[in-house]
Symmetry: C2
Subunit: 558 residues, 2 copies
């Protein structure tokens, strides 16, 4: 059998994983990585921290050099070699050496596309002025570092409040700048539901970051002092010595599209579970491909490093004749900034509504990340989504200072395995006082949801507060009630409820809340057993405050 020639286009995450796996499976294959950039296999996700000088040496971000690929794996890496077209008929790619502009053809038996994603640069007036950057590659981050070192900007504007935008904001604050985040959306971190993103907004707003939501950039202008002015659609204007555009990325599917490969609705390359494109000799992996969502079953475009690596392995396996499959993506993601962690897995309420899925329920909790009696316990704001008909887990979101990634990872594993809220209830997790609680936040989430599934309590949503004429009962202690409560709510502390419940109206629905939803659950159980029609306001006063639009508006405009 002839030596198999595999050509890989793009040498980050998916491409590099694929190449290394190919070598392990087939010592004889000829493996070539064609990378148009200056680097192969660099740590994309570390770039904001390199800008922020948290990671100080560029070399740390270079995970593997062309030399290492050659010496260890006998893999040839050609940097600054850009594939400009695919000749599917003759199974060759046309390559341009970026520096010499020389073109040549490289034949393949198998072609693996791993071109990644490109940052979106909106066609706004002034977008090409000096000092306006995007961040996707190592040279991008070098450019921003050089600009900061040379210009020493005091103020920066970050356009886009997603993951990269927030990481950039933190790192620019770390470099001593006052930062403004501008986003057309009415929330930060669009992958989260808005009331969960509200915890993010509050934290960010505390750290020398101004957050301008529901407002888009209209124009970039040069200012008199040599800086920039970012003018928004609402008429606001922000001085900035540095602007970072982090509006998002789009799949680099140009090459695939030009070659006539099937492209999905989201603009990504369409592949099957073998990572095979519509051409039987061409595979595609990583940020350029569309994936099936594990929960909705729909095609989506969710660029994530973990799945990219797995896809690279699957493609290598299939190229070598193995029967591997990539199933789906469940969107597990995490972001940290200013001491806060926000993470999610599965789908959000927003995504469920967009997908037209109505059979779901949500519970909110605010458990401590470890035993409350051990010093340093921090709350985790947690939202769990599950199918109303059978309790199947659909998604989870969490925001907090400690232990967030752990709980989301556990629930991610449960979702992957087709778990239900009953499985969370039963989970046997690590407990010692400095690590967790005998009832871990994951257990508590399972219990709260299982109580709903078993019909022990009905939930009400803060979302519906304005539309209801239910009687609002606050069962917190009198002092808590005095410190802040909801208009129209009547206060009867849980400990007084047995003595005073006859004050409550019969024949009218009663919505009960406390601080976080625990005492109100007891109250609901008591009242239900006494013939009242009750609902628990999930997440209590803490979740109410996250929903409160007034405070949000007030803080946003300062």
């Amino acid at each position: 059998m002839a030596r198999k020639r595999v050509v890989i286009v793009g040498g980050v995450a998916g491409g590099a994983s694929c190449a290394a796996r190919l070598r392990r499976l087939d010592e004889d294959a000829g493996i070539v990585i064609l990378e148009r950039g200056y680097y192969v296999s660099f740590a994309n996700c570390g770039l904001p921290y390199f800008v922020g000088n948290v990671i100080q040496e560029e070399s740390k971000l270079l995970l593997a050099s062309p030399d290492l690929f050659r010496e260890r794996f006998n893999i040839e890496v050609r940097l600054r070699n850009e594939v400009i077209s695919i000749d599917r008929q003759s199974r060759e790619v046309v390559v341009r050496e970026v520096d010499s502009e020389r073109e040549y053809r490289e034949p393949y038996d198998a072609l693996v596309l791993s071109p990644g994603a490109a940052p979106i640069r909106p066609a706004l007036p002034g977008v090409d002025l000096p000092g306006i950057f995007t961040l996707r590659s190592l040279p991008d981050s070098e450019d921003i570092r050089d600009w900061i070192d040379a210009k020493k900007p005091r103020r920066a504007v970050v356009v886009g409040g997603g993951f990269i935008g927030l990481e950039m904001a933190e790192n620019l604050v770390h470099r001593g700048m006052e930062v403004t985040i501008i986003d057309v959306a009415d929330q930060l971190m669009p992958p989260l539901d808005p009331e969960m993103a509200e915890y993010v907004r509050r934290r960010v707003a505390k750290h020398a970051v101004h957050v301008q939501l529901s407002d888009g950039v209209a124009e970039f202008k040069s200012s008199a002092d040599g800086g920039l002015v970012v003018a928004t659609q609402s008429g606001a204007a922000f001085d900035a010595g540095l602007v970072v555009l982090s509006i998002g990325v789009r799949p680099e599917s140009r090459l695939a599209r030009a070659a006539g490969l099937e492209i999905g609705d989201r603009g990504g390359i369409r592949v099957d579970s073998r990572m095979l494109t519509s051409d039987p000799y061409i595979w595609a992996v990583g940020d350029a491909v569309e994936v099936k969502n594990r929960i909705t079953g729909k095609w989506e475009w969710i660029p994530l490093a973990g799945p990219a690596n797995r896809q690279g392995r699957v493609a290598a396996d299939v190229v070598c004749g193995r029967n591997s499959r990539f199933s789906s993506v469940q969107g597990t993601a995490i972001c940290g900034f200013f001491g806060l962690t926000a993470a999610l897995t599965g789908v959000t309420e927003k995504a469920l509504r967009q997908a037209g899925i109505e059979d779901f329920q949500a519970v909110y909790l605010h458990p401590a990340h470890h035993a409350g009696y051990y010093p340093g316990a921090k709350p985790i704001h947690l939202k769990i989504l599950f199918r109303g008909s059978d309790g199947l887990l659909l998604g989870a979101q969490a925001v907090g200072e400690e232990g967030v990634e752990r709980r989301i990872d556990v629930i991610a594993m449960a979702i992957q395995m087709g778990g239900t809220v009953f499985d969370l209830e039963e989970a046997e997790l690590c407990y010692a006082p400095q690590y967790g609680s005998a009832k871990d936040p994951v257990n508590l989430a399972g219990m709260a949801a299982a109580n709903v599934m078993r019909g022990d309590v009905d939930l009400a949503s803060w979302r519906e507060l304005d539309a209801t004429d239910a009687f609002l009962l606050d069962v917190r202690e009198v002092e808590e009630f005095r410190d802040g409560s909801i208009d129209g709510a009547v206060n009867i502390p849980l400990s007084k409820l047995r003595a005073r419940y006859k004050e409550l109206p019969r024949g009218r629905e009663i919505w009960v809340y406390c601080r976080a939803g625990h005492r109100s659950y007891y109250a609901c159980r008591f009242l239900a057993q006494n013939g009242f029609q009750v609902r628990n306001l999930s997440g209590g006063y803490r979740t109410y405050r996250a929903w409160q639009p007034e405070e949000r508006r007030q803080l946003c405009t300062r």
Copy 2:
């Protein structure tokens, strides 16, 4: 229907959970908790930290007072009321008021036993001398605190190197003492496999703690200066101003045994999945009952707070006519000391061998807890056990400074769901540089095990090193080899292997190792494809050092 009378014996974890759940399910039931101690619902697991003054206020450990039980839940708590016998015929318990010695009878429709476990106090000469303590209750911890305050001991001996012993050792060091841990076993933390416990021993030995293994206490004596001397069977003697016995606990099944209820082989009360004892009106929960092991299916006695709480809920459900079930325990446990965390879930290799189960494999890894390129990455020493025939996950152990509990929790969830190593390989977990890696330690563990399952590599165990005549190949770099290697190993760095592999012997098995098992895996794949018979020494040189008895012995005797 008459008001149901439920009597609960013992008011910590399981008992308190059961009582609160009962009230939520049945507002009319009469619920009485009989507790012979001074406290109800206190935080057992916090006691070592109260001794160490990490938790400074005793009140923090009191999770719920009798007043709170009465006011919120209409539950009667009678402290210092000890149940001395059960009259199953007339369905009454005989209770003694500890202070007045008055006895009375309390009738029940349902009786829930939650008596917990008692510390083992060995019948050794001098064991009742002043200054020798056990630690199980709040008064125990008060006594130790008082002793420390009064005597200001400079040295302490902890007898028993399990979870509580290690937590005590840390807390006594925290109070300024030099500590010796004595254990008859040849390892610390008996729930771990010995080579995993070795990481624990090394850390403990660094922190003013002398570790005396494979040696038991022979006698306690008073010393001339008013202190104690602990004499061991090997002839060693240790001065101590304070001795804490943490040899273990035994189920408090005396009451149940006297009442003729079925007791298991491990001495715990035998219950079915409804937590019902052999008497249809008596339930039992918590540390006093035996449980089914999720993996082996065998009866075991594993006292853990999480399962105790769940059992309390199940018992309450069943008392109220619900169809709830408690399935099994998988032994998830964690312990932290001196900045190190050790945790496990499922079974150990030791337990598998004891249970006569031979169809298993083990992989070792030492991945960083987050991306290596982000500052502060710490290794996690990880061992995964899985069924050889199908890859079913059997157990996991991890030791490290960061991220240990998270990985064990994720694997605990996978085990609970009947997951395989392939599920770990595919897990989609949180990744940002400060939280993890694109290939999380859990993924890497799954990959390493899946490689074995797919026949891509055979493993060798360091355990068998002395018995083999295999050729030992070290594929680390020359400098690493020079810094320390294994007798008889030949060094060919991975990057030179393609040029030099012809130096290797044909027709003789080659065992390959590197630092952690990753490069050696590449070498194995290369060599196997070139017709060599190879095995990968899982975990590499780092795991070898954990197996090395010489160093262990040397350090132990100082």
